[in-house]
Amino acid sequence: MSVVAITPDYKFAAKDRVENFHGNQIVYVGWDHHLMFCSAFAYPVPPATTFKALRDGVMQEAFELHPEYSKVNWETATWLLDNEPFQPQLDKSLQEQGVGHKSLLRFQTPELKGYKNAGV
């Protein structure tokens, strides 16, 4: 569907196109079934950031507040990239492995049931 406006030229550049982020791109990261964090986080990072730098650097500060975060086993944790199964390569950049601007990364740790096993 398309918008119905007074002119057929009702068209504006996307306000959040990657050029507007001064060399960064936005990546969202969420931890499934862990609702202590009310939502996924939005990070501005250079596309050349390695996955390892994202996971062990960028993500650390906010996620580590969760009592289970230190127990995450990254060997067995699974990932979704834009809702498709994804095998991250730690030393490759986000760009190289298809993590694009406004991509959503979700990780799952089924053995960790959240605070009081309540998905929190």
Binding site: D16, H101, A118
Partner: protein, 512 residues
């Protein structure tokens, strides 16, 4: 000469629509240029039924009477320091959210109705919209005057208009009304007069104002109910406009249905903020959000849609989702604010034990299972001296702009993620409803001013969150934001009430 006397209806027509005439010298389409592009077909404006028949002289007379009463109460309220009569200083945060989030919408309603009150070529509809326009101006101004006294004694009210244009969570209400006002004139009326005023506004005003009364806030209660007395006229307009559009042409039916679908969903998202006010921010509860939803939407709205079925109008899309959401939405919304309490211009807090029990009782199927554990974790952290504030910025829904904290309704421990691709860009949504709205008009929503992205683009001043809050939002850090516990608001309240400093407000009881 014995002429036939006019009845009220004909007399009102003579005094309103009969003032207009068919143009012979100028192009009437140039005078009313926005009426056609949406595709609504009006074959005969004379079929418009005036929803109420108030001439200007009676309008001035009755409204002046209402204003006189209202301002007498405001004066008495401030002369007697009425703010001391509220149940608890936590309550005041609900009206901070009201002034910063809702009052500016009243202003936008004034502007929106002024616009359609000029642009409809049917004089009957025009005059009805003009009256609503001036009523809406009344609402924003009486709200400011009611809050003016609170502003002198509590933090967080002082920069409401500056904040409304900038602060992250206030882009939720702002974008709602920007969306309506940037739409064509008929969509605007279906959005605001019908979907919002008629179907949903009772949920904002009635329980909330009863809540104000129940919490000793006479100023808010009075302006609220006084404003509602105009609202009855506005609701009548909302129903009339729908019936008029549906009766004018059968081709209007799918357009109207499309707009009802869109605005119902957009409205329910906006009202999530009201839900949390009712369940969490009122120290004395009136009814739960779920109960309010059942009375004011499911019952009243159900009757309405049954009535509209004869035109081929059906219940709004995704209404079945709202039947599930009523169990969850207020809890999820308050958690969003609690965890972002450092970035909000009002205080947040953990519900008291008594309040937690009330929530369990009102939400027997969901509260203890899904939401109590969150508060237990929060309490544990607070007890350790580590009151939980989230440390990164949240992902926002492109449409409603609320942090994406709403869950799958069939799996309430999992965030709902929806997305669309448009023109090579990805867009994210909190729900099927918000995704659907985007997909209908992507060219509109690619323009969304999403606060988190704007901060990252460097458009909100400041290199870090603190600078954004202080310099761009103009929050007084340490006063407006953070937990209620330990806030200057709490401290002053305790001094006024002669309470021991540091005494747990949760267990606050009147001395008999």
């Amino acid at each position: 000469m014995v002429a036939k006397k006019l009845n009220l209806k004909d007399k009102y027509r003579a005094l309103t629509r009969d003032l207009d005439w068919d143009y012979d010298y100028a192009d009437r389409k140039k005078a009313f240029p926005y009426e056609e592009f949406e595709g609504i077909k009006i074959t005969d404006w004379s079929k418009w039924e005036d929803p109420f028949r108030l001439t200007m002289d009676s309008y001035w007379k009755y409204q002046a009477e209402k204003e006189k009463k209202l301002y007498a109460i405001f004066d008495a309220f401030s002369q007697n320091n009425g703010h001391l009569n509220v149940t608890d200083a936590r309550y005041v945060n609900a009206i901070k959210l009201f002034l910063t989030g809702v009052s500016p919408l009243e202003y936008q309603a004034f502007q929106g109705y002024a616009h359609v009150g000029r642009q409809f070529s049917g004089a009957g509809a025009r005059v009805a919209c003009q009256m609503q326009s001036i009523d809406e101006l009344r609402h924003v101004q009486t709200q400011i005057h009611a809050m003016s006294h609170y502003n002198k004694f509590f933090d967080g009210f002082q920069d409401w208009t500056h904040m409304h244009d900038r602060v992250w969570y206030l882009s939720v209400p702002k974008s709602f009304f920007d969306d309506a006002r940037s739409a064509g004139p008929f969509e605007f009326l279906v959005a605001i007069s019908f979907s919002f005023e008629y179907v949903l506004t009772n949920l904002l005003f009635v329980p909330f104002m009863s809540g104000a009364a129940h919490n000793g806030d006479m100023a808010t209660c009075t302006f609220g109910f006084s404003a509602q007395s105009d609202e009855a006229r506005h609701m009548t307009l909302g129903l009339e406009i729908i019936k008029f559009l549906l009766e004018q042409h059968e081709d209007n039916v799918p357009l109207v249905q499309k707009w009802i679908d869109k605005w119902f969903w957009r409205g329910t998202r906006l009202l999530a903020l009201v839900g949390m006010m009712m369940d969490y921010m009122l120290p004395n509860k009136v009814m739960s959000w779920k109960e309010a939803w059942e009375v004011y939407f499911e019952e009243a709205g159900g009757a309405l849609f049954k009535d509209l079925a004869r035109y081929g109008i059906v219940m709004p899309k995704f209404v079945e989702t709202t039947a599930k959401e009523k169990e969850h939405i207020s809890h999820q919304a308050w958690w969003i604010f609690y965890t972002h309490g450092h970035a909000a211009a009002f205080h947040t807090w953990i519900p008291s034990d008594e309040e937690l029990d009330w929530l369990s009782e009102k939400y027997p199927d969901t509260f203890d299972k899904y939401y109590r554990p969150r508060w237990e974790l929060a309490k544990e952290m607070e007890a350790r001296g580590e009151r939980f504030y989230t440390k990164a910025l949240p992902q926002l829904c492109t449409t409603c702009q609320i942090p994406m904290g709403f869950t799958e309704m069939d799996d309430p421990t999992q965030i709902a993620y929806r997305s669309s691709d448009f023109d090579g860009e990805k867009y994210h949504f909190c729900s099927d409803g918000c995704k659907h709205i985007f997909d209908q008009e992507p060219e509109k929503y690619v323009q969304s001013w999403l606060p988190v992205h704007q901060i990252y683009q460097g458009n909100c001043g400041g290199a870090n969150v603190e600078e954004v809050l202080r310099d761009y939002y103009k929050m007084n850090l340490g006063e407006d934001n953070m937990d209620f516990k330990g806030s200057p608001d709490e401290q002053r309240w305790n001094e006024w009430k002669g309470k021991d400093k540091g005494k747990d407000t949760d267990k606050d009881q009147d001395v008999a």
